[in-house]
């Protein structure tokens, strides 16, 4: 099938098998390896990206499920909120092993896009789809809250 999709602001037209996963399309076909693999089942959230302004796990989305002319934002993208959160993750030591980090940053970006004034409870709800095994989430909260202050 032919896909027409805007990824990180760039229009991409490609021929792909219908059962190509979005994760593999990003990583293998486009070489956008910042989106990570974690579980194949949408459970861990490491492969989270923003599709049409919604946070999704790219390992359980097939290219055939994506409407034409969709937009995707990945960790490689340019976005004010995304770059701010990346900076705060560095400052607060919110990335440890890094395997969940890009998924977590995308989830936080999506959350603050929707509402920059979310409270602690809403941050917890917004990030609960991404598993982190290193940080105990504490430094991640610190980074997101500091980013909020600057929005």
């Amino acid at each position: 099938m032919n896909v027409k999709i805007t990824i990180n602001g760039k229009l991409i037209t490609r021929e792909v098998p219908e059962n190509r996963r979005l994760l593999d399309f990003l990583r293998e076909d486009l070489g956008l390896k910042g989106t990570k693999y974690g579980c194949d089942q949408g459970e861990c959230g490491a492969c989270s990206i923003i599709l049409n302004n919604k946070i999704v796990t790219s390992c359980i989305i097939l290219m055939a499920q994506i409407p034409q002319n969709s937009t995707v934002l990945t960790i490689e993208g340019t976005d004010h909120v995304l770059q701010l959160i990346q900076e705060k993750f560095k400052e607060f030591g919110a990335a440890q092993c890094g395997a969940c980090t890009t998924g977590m940053i995308m989830a936080a970006t999506s959350l603050l896009h929707l509402d920059p004034k979310v409270n602690q409870k809403e941050i917890e709800d917004g990030l609960c789809g991404v598993l982190c095994r290193c940080t105990g989430y504490t430094k991640i909260y610190d980074a997101v809250k500091e980013a909020q202050k600057q929005l």
């Binding site: 390896k33 910042g34 989106t35 990570k36 693999y37 974690g38 579980c39 194949d40 089942q41 459970e43 861990c44 490491a46 960790i75 490689e76 990346q86 993750f89 560095k90 400052e91 607060f92 030591g93 990335a95 440890q96 092993c97 890094g98 395997a99 969940c100 980090t101 890009t102 940053i105 941050i123 917890e124 709800d125 990030l127 609960c128 789809g129 598993l131 982190c132 095994r133 290193c134 940080t135 105990g136 989430y137 504490t138 430094k139």
Partner: protein, 784 residues
């Protein structure tokens, strides 16, 4: 060597003690840090593994349709195709790379398939048929020990034994007013690192082999690959890729993953990628040993701790792998950080037909700390004492002897951690009398179901490998200054997320008086430094730190000599202060350290040195059950606050206070990261996580939808409390911290549950089902 007492971060530090930004953060937040699955090589091939469907079976025949495979371009490999020894060395050499005659657990590798795509390798499975005859299997360690017919390891299935003996335990029980005896069970815990296991083997024909991969212990992999391929060690090079979490799970497993890839690469003479899916990873790789622990404690009404007797049965699964070392730590930590004159610990590691269990943060200690700290609480309860006061009576202080007879003459911060955790949590205010079940039911009648409770644990951690692993307790370092004034260094221990690169860079910056921003660590590569042992046992900061200090000291001398010559001053009268080299007597600044490095370079002086470190001596006499088990000890008090629904058994965790004596916080931010993350993983162990096996010995909870780890929604407020009681052997006084944050959370949690609803658990995790069942049992027992 740096004098601990003279060093103060506020006054003297250039880098150590500061919250400096992690060295690996830049590429991790952009996703550019290269993990194994992000790498690719020209003409790379993929590997699939055909694994045993049975827990215990004889292999009768392996039929491979080589003709079809050849036409498809698929290459198969069996045990017969291994050019060297079919052994993955860990400790006891009982673990084969590919099963040949017998399979001993579900998921054991039997045949490998290598092809140009993973799809093709998977498709080729149908051209291999393996005929098995099932034989009886055993899954419980108590049952497996001395099993009359099922033999997995030698004659009695016991692959390791350690003991502690102190005084006369029977006399101690005779002198006790109250004796508390229980049998406990702890689960298999999955590491659930977010990056699954993976290695890529790149051959140079049959001449040499390079393996890239996600791992903790490259030198283990180097030896295994060399022995499997029958190559000299010098021809095998291992390069660690960015490692996305490990927690012990990438200690010995990469021996297998890397060797399977290397065998594949050797067979096809092309790069071979072996990346595990999440399900394959959970089903077939190591986990925390499940255990059965029998624990008996004797106390007097006045609160004397008279006797402790423990029997430990670690379920090691099908192969010993790390069990002898894991069991040693279990045995040493079984009686806790207390003074007790009469102790008897008997610990056995028993093989069964489950997946081989292995290293996991805490390394055998969480299995005994849960029962031990439950027993301390039950003892306090039996004599009507506050559990924190009862512990305070018995905890080790400077000059005390451990239950295994080691006098600890310095750096004992346990009391401080207890005081601080108690104070910050508001312990005495929050700690309400534990209700009787009648009181709980009475409240239920009034519509009050939720009750708060607070619990405590006090623990210690024997830093580094200790006497059982002392032969591996070495570390190398290499430091090279560059003509532009920057510094690069290499070590043999690995970064897996814990922050080692950052902390070691701080040590190098401090030692050389160079700006932290100018210090770089090169990726870990077995060709750069000699075998530095494994990155385990919370040892990287200390041992690589000391090796780096050794190297930097040599470099300072080299630099000072050239500066002395040029400025016509005495080389012994030079020091580094605030990134400058100055004369000690006159305090006159001579030049910046960066300029001094340039000077050495221009003068054609030596600008690279190697450092080395060996752990201080330890010795353990297992016949006597006494010895100097570890070089140093870290200490910790955990307090957990919960709210329990007494009607349905759910447990919400409100707060964790985690007070750790680490000797010296080299970087308080990464240290807090270790405490927060470790505490949550410990909470997972106590409250949520349990691998479920089918009656046939297969892992049932094989993905992150059925094996639940804490999400943001289950995470309480975690309060890190740092205590610094320096250890003279550590860099700037530092001790290990990697594992300790996990170890004592489970019992602090179950003790809090007991305080809330008055029931005790002998099994973790504290699922709602278990808490509910314990409440029902108590109602039954007390006939209320």
């Amino acid at each position: 060597m740096f004098l601990v007492k003279e060093f103060s971060s506020e006054v003297d530090s250039m880098a150590v003690g500061k919250r400096l930004k992690r060295k690996d953060a830049d590429t991790k937040v952009t996703g550019e840090a290269p993990y194994a699955y992000d790498m690719s090589f020209a003409d790379e091939q993929y590997l699939a593994v055909i694994r045993s469907p049975y827990a215990h079976a004889r292999i009768v025949n392996i039929a491979i349709d080589y003709k079809i495979l050849e036409s498809l371009g698929v290459v198969a490999g069996t045990a017969k195709d291994i050019p060297g020894k079919n052994i993955l060395h860990v400790i006891l050499d009982d673990w084969p790379l590919l099963a040949e005659k017998v399979v001993r657990h579900v998921g054991e590798p039997v045949v490998i398939l290598v092809a140009a795509s993973l799809h093709l390798a998977e498709e080729a499975r149908k051209y291999v048929s393996i005929e098995y005859i099932e034989i009886p299997a055993v899954f419980d360690p108590v049952e497996a020990k001395d099993h009359p017919t099922i033999q997995i390891f030698e004659e009695n299935n016991v692959c390791s034994y350690w003991q502690q003996k102190n005084g006369d335990v029977e006399k101690g029980f005779a002198e006790s007013d109250i004796v508390i005896e229980n049998e406990y069970r702890t689960p298999a815990q999955e590491h659930a690192y977010i990056e699954t296991q993976g290695c890529i083997a790149v051959p140079q024909g049959h001449d040499s082999m390079t393996v890239y991969g996600s791992m903790q212990c490259p030198f283990y992999v180097q030896r295994c690959v060399a022995e499997i391929l029958g190559m000299e060690w010098s021809k095998v090079n291992i390069i660690q890729t960015t490692t996305g979490g490990a927690f012990g799970g990438k200690e010995d497993v990469p021996n297998q993953v890397g060797s399977l890839a290397a065998l594949g690469a050797w067979l096809v003479r092309k790069p071979v990628k072996f990346l595990l899916t999440r399900e394959e990873d959970i089903e077939t790789t190591s986990k925390r040993h499940p255990a059965v622990i029998r624990y008996k404690t004797g106390v007097t009404k006045q609160g004397e701790l008279k006797a402790i007797k423990v029997e430990v049965f670690l379920n090691t699964g099908a192969y010993a792998t790390l069990a002898p070392a894991v069991l040693y730590r279990a045995a040493m930590h079984a009686a806790g950080p207390y003074r007790c004159g009469n102790v008897d610990v008997q610990a056995y590691a028993v093989t069964t037909n489950l997946v081989p269990f292995g290293a996991f943060r805490g390394f055998g200690s969480p299995q005994v700390i849960f029962p031990g700290e439950e027993q301390m609480d039950r003892a306090a309860e039996s004599i009507g004492m506050d559990p924190s006061d009862f512990r305070e009576l018995h905890i080790l202080k400077v000059g005390d002897k451990t239950t295994f007879g080691q006098v600890i003459d310095q750096s004992v911060g346990l009391e401080q951690t207890l005081h601080k955790a108690r104070e910050q949590s508001g312990w005495y205010k929050k700690r309400k009398p534990t209700p009787t079940i009648a009181q709980v039911l009475e409240e239920q009648k009034k519509g009050k179901y939720r009750r708060k409770g607070i619990g405590i644990s006090t623990i210690f951690y024997g830093c580094f490998l200790g006497a059982a692993g002392k032969l591996m307790s070495r570390s190398g370092a290499y430091v090279q200054v560059e003509p532009d004034g920057s510094v690069r260094f290499a070590v043999g221990t690995t970064e897996m997320g814990q922050g080692m690169i950052t902390v070691l860079s701080q040590i190098v910056a401090e030692e050389l008086g160079i700006e932290y921003e100018k210090v770089y660590m090169t990726p870990v590569d077995t060709s750069r430094v000699p075998d530095s042992g494994p990155t385990v046992a919370s040892r990287a900061t200390i041992m690589s730190g000391r090796a780096l200090q050794d190297a930097c000291k040599q470099l300072r001398t080299l630099i000072y000599d050239k500066v002395a010559l040029k400025y016509e001053v005495d080389a012994t009268d030079i020091e580094i202060k605030e990134f400058q080299i100055q004369e000690i007597t006159t305090q006159k600044k001579l030049l910046s350290v960066s300029d001094a490095i340039k000077l050495v370079y221009q003068e054609r002086g030596q600008i690279a040195v190697a450092g080395w470190d060996v752990a201080p001596p330890t010795h353990y006499d297992n016949e006597k059950g006494q010895g100097d088990a570890y070089s140093a000890y870290a200490w910790c008090t955990n307090i957990v606050e919960v709210e329990v629904d007494s009607q349905i058994g759910t447990v919400d965790i409100l707060n964790i206070w985690a007070a750790h004596d680490v000797g010296k916080a080299i970087n308080p931010q990464t240290l807090e990261g270790q405490i927060e993350g470790g505490s949550l993983q410990g909470l997972g162990y106590g409250r949520y996580e349990e691998i479920i096996f089918t009656p046939e010995g297969r892992v049932l909870s094989n993905n992150l939808g059925t094996y639940l780890i804490p999400t943001t929604k289950e995470t309480p407020k975690i309060h890190s409390i740092i205590v610094e009681d320096p250890w003279s052997g550590g860099p700037y006084g530092a001790k290990g911290i990697g594992e300790q944050p996990l170890m004592g959370i489970a019992p602090a949690l179950t003790n809090a549950i007991a305080n809330a609803v008055g029931v005790r658990l002998n099994t973790i995790p504290a699922t709602p089902e278990r808490v509910w069942a314990a409440i029902q049992e108590k109602i039954e027992e007390e006939k209320v």
